[in-house]
Symmetry: C2
Subunit: 209 residues, 2 copies
C-alpha cells in the first residue's frame, strides 16, 4: 500500500437511516489502515466498552474544562450527554500517517472545517426523502411523532449538503459503495499528501536526468 | 448513476510501460459514461480508422491555422506528426455532462492546466525505475540504445510528477486499479460538480423545514 505522509481526516455525515453505517463498515474492511476516531464523552461506559478504545470517558467538569481550553475540533451535547473529538489525539494520528473517520452531524462537520481545513467532508444522502421515511417506518421502532421529528432533523441536515466536498447518493448500493470507497482511495492518492512518494520518484528521475 | 452537471476532464499521464493502458481499459469498463477525447491529427488515417471517431484528421495547414486561432487546449508534434485536443469539442462534451479522458504527456498536461483549470490530473508511476526498464526490455522490441533514450524520457516525465493532483503507484495491480477507478468515482461525486443533485436535496429539505 502506498502510504501517505500525513493521514486524512474523513468527516462523514448523513441522516439516520441513509445507510451510512453499512457504507462505513465496508469501507473499513477495504482500508484496514483507516480507523474511527475515538471521541471523548461524558456518558457512562456501557458493558464491554473500554476507556481509550471505544471512548475517552471523562467527567462533566473535565469535559467543560476541555471545551474552555479549546481542546476539541468539534463537540456537541445531545440529551445532556456531551461528545467531542480531541485535537491532540486527532493531530497525533494524522501526523503519524494514520487516517481517521469522524461520523458526525452537519454542525460538527462545520466545526471541523474551521479547525482542520484539510479534512475531506462526505455527506451521504438518500435518493429522495420518501425512501428515508419509509426506511424509518419499516424499522417499526418509532411512533409517527418521533418519525416526524426525525424527518425534520433530516431536512435540517440535508439543507447543508452543499458545504461538503463530496455527495454520495445512496440509491444503488453497489454504486454507493464504489463511490464512497473511491473517495477514500482518491484522497489517499492526492499528490499533496504523498510527499515521500513524490520525492522518491523525483529522486530517481534526477539521478537519470 | 448520479449524473454530474458538468463533465470532468481527466488528464492521465505516465511513462510508457507503466501499465496506463491496462488501468484505463478497466476504468472505461467500470464507467461507461466516460470516453476518450478524440484528438485532431495531421497523420494519415490507418486502415479502419474513422474520421471524427478515432481522430479528427486534418491537413497540416488546417492544423497550423487551428494553433494560430488558439483552438487547442494542448497540442504537440512528434516526428513531424501533430496532435491536438480541440477546445470546442472538449468544452461541448464537458458542458453536456460527459466526462473525457486525455492520455497525454506531462508537457500536454501543463498546457491543459492553463486552459482548463478544473481538470483532474493523474500520473501513473512505477514502483521504481528498474521495474520499468525491465518491462521495456522484456518486450524485446527495442535496442539498448532505444531503451536508454526511452528511460531518459521517462525520467523527464517523472520529474514533473509533483504538479499532478493524484499519483497512482502501479506496484500491486489490484490496488492500482482500486485507486485509479476511485479517483474517477471521487471526482464525479464532488459537490461542486453535482449542482442539480445538491439543488434537489436542498429542495426537499426546504419543503420539509
Amino acid at each position: 500500500m502506498t502510504h501517505v505522509d500525513t493521514g486524512v481526516l474523513f468527516v462523514v455525515s448523513g441522516p439516520s437511516g441513509v445507510g451510512k453505517s453499512t457504507l462505513l463498515k465496508h469501507c473499513l474492511s477495504v482500508f484496514p489502515d483507516i480507523s474511527f476516531s475515538v471521541s471523548a464523552t461524558t456518558r457512562d461506559p456501557r458493558a464491554g466498552e473500554e476507556d481509550g478504545v471505544d471512548y475517552h470517558f471523562v467527567t462533566r467538569s473535565r469535559f467543560d474544562e476541555l471545551v474552555r481550553e479549546d481542546a476539541f475540533i468539534e463537540h456537541a451535547t445531545v440529551y445532556d450527554r456531551s461528545y467531542g473529538t480531541l485535537r491532540s489525539t486527532t493531530r497525533a494520528a494524522i501526523d503519524s500517517g494514520r487516517s481517521l473517520i469522524l461520523d458526525i452531524d452537519v454542525q460538527g462537520a462545520a466545526q471541523v472545517r474551521r479547525h482542520m481545513p484539510d479534512a475531506a467532508h462526505i455527506i451521504v444522502v438518500p435518493p429522495n426523502l420518501a425512501v428515508l421515511e419509509e426506511r424509518l417506518r419499516r424499522r417499526g421502532t418509532d411512533s409517527d411523532e418521533v418519525i416526524n421529528r426525525r424527518m425534520d432533523q433530516v431536512a435540517q441536515q440535508l439543507l447543508a449538503c452543499d458545504v461538503f466536498d463530496y455527495v454520495v447518493v445512496n440509491d444503488d448500493l453497489l454504486e454507493a459503495h464504489r463511490t464512497f470507497n473511491g473517495i477514500f482511495a482518491a484522497e489517499l492518492a492526492r499528490c499533496s499528501r504523498l510527499g515521500s512518494v513524490v520525492a522518491a520518484v523525483r529522486g530517481w528521475a534526477m539521478l537519470r536526468d
